[in-house]
Amino acid sequence: MSVLLEGVSFRYPGSDTDALHEVSLALRPGEVTLVTGRLGAGCSTLLLVVAGLAPHATGGTRSGEVATLECDPASRDGRKVLAGRVGLLLPTPWTQLSGMSVTVEEEVAFGPANLGWRRPRIAEAVQHAMERFGVTHLARRDPRTLSGGELQRVMFAGVLAMEPEVLLLDEPALELDPAGAASMYELLRSLAEQCTVLLASTDLDRVAAVAGRALLLDRGSLVADGTVEDVLGSDGAVATGCSTTVADIARAAGLAPGYPLTVSDAVQRMRR
């Protein structure tokens, strides 16, 4: 098991409600797991808890058991062991810039260098990550001059260059154009073959075709955990706007729950 949560609750400092409440789940390598919910559901917080940044960086209180790659990510020892093994991509790329790189290549190399890798290994990992995200042509550019979409891909390449075993992605396509988002989600499939991917997203029309499993959060509580078809195709998910446009249309058309999520899914069902 890559990630294991047992009855985990988390509360931010100064708040009187739990951002996460009694959440239990297990994530295995080899699958893309989507976590979604309405605004304030706790999706981003879940990622921070798995990464150990909540409460380590955010403050607040956590209860319950968290094991990321068999370590408590918020403990001092856990943080040492997990450095570089858990990759986290935040939604705003410009706040993730290291601030000390004047080229994209250096920015991507920031993480691997922090891990103390030898320079040839860093160069190889950086080249590979940049190729995967199609940002090789930006290598000599100043990261501060990139567009939001370019920077998002560069930051993703920077996370990937560390070769993480657990990949935590918070709205990774927020800055991308439709084509860029589609190719990024496509890439997630192959990444999931090497690591565990937990993806927080509300871009459900695209993600539904990529993720195998979905978690639905509501005000910090895990209300559904299952295949993407079961969770996003349920009446509750569609009624609360946590599903795809196709499922929304299917529900409005009066179909029974277990709604199709994608156009191809809907077409297949109609043919049957």
Binding site: V102, E106, N114, G158
Partner: protein, 239 residues
């Protein structure tokens, strides 16, 4: 004003290729000399020499920025002291000191690659967290300046008038300063999390990506600069 006016500007001048410590020692020496050399000719000559150095390094923008920052000082000095006789010498002295220091630091910011500075500090055994803090501090001014420009534009789009009478300008400071401070605070929090996730707190010793070359000539130059600063202070005290 472009964000490039403050901060690192890529280039191939000797100053760019110098070891980061050399540029920083030069800036530090200038501060000492600006106050220790006989005024006003000392600081004025220093400002002129640094201006020439900036032009030779292909960084005329450094001069423009220094001019932009120092002009208000010159103006207020002239208003306070007057521009005749002894007063003019006083204005020239203080103005030259401020200008020399500004050019020296802007020149160091423009020619010291932040990552190379961190690499140089790591080579000397400085912990990464401390090296990063120094580098981030040097980068903070251009970053805050960019954010301030964005906030001014955003607030102007929302109808805030930032030009006009002194009173109007002063009353516009609060709606500009609060988002800047809160934004910087929020960004610092997110950046800290991102850096943590990117291994900045990893127990391994960070690999210097491109350690800057340091020659004997540069070491001698640094010692000479430091000696010049000390000598100037001693001379000033003795005089």
């Amino acid at each position: 004003m472009s964000p490039r006016l403050v901060g690192y500007v890529p280039g191939r001048s000797p100053l760019h290729q110098a070891h980061p410590f050399t540029a920083l020692v030069l800036a530090g020496t200038v501060v000492v000399l600006a106050f220790a050399l006989p005024a006003p000719q000392g600081p004025a000559a220093l400002a002129v020499a640094l201006a020439a150095l900036a032009l030779l390094a292909g960084l005329p923008r450094v001069l423009l920025t220094a001019l932009g920052f120092s002009l208000p000082f010159w103006f207020f000095l002239a208003v306070i002291h007057g521009v005749t006789g002894e007063s003019a010498l006083r204005v020239l002295t203080v103005g030259s000191q401020i200008s020399a220091m500004l050019i020296a630091f802007l020149l160091a910011l423009a020619t010291v690659h932040p990552a190379r500075l961190v690499d140089a500090l790591l080579q000397r055994g400085v912990p990464f967290s401390l090296a990063y803090l120094l580098s981030a501090t040097l980068q903070a001014v251009p970053r805050l300046r960019r954010q301030a420009t964005d906030i001014v534009e955003a607030q102007r789009c929302r109808g805030l008038r930032v030009r006009g009478s002194i009173w109007r300008r002063v009353s516009a400071i609060v709606p500009l300063a609060i988002p800047l401070v809160l934004g910087a605070r929020g960004e610092a929090g997110e950046r800290a999390m991102a850096l943590d996730a990117r291994g900045a707190a990893a127990p391994a010793h960070r690999t210097p990506l491109e350690p800057p070359a340091d020659s004997i000539a540069q070491r001698i130059a640094r010692w000479l600069l430091a000696a010049a600063a000390v000598a100037a202070v001693v001379w000033r005290i003795a005089a």
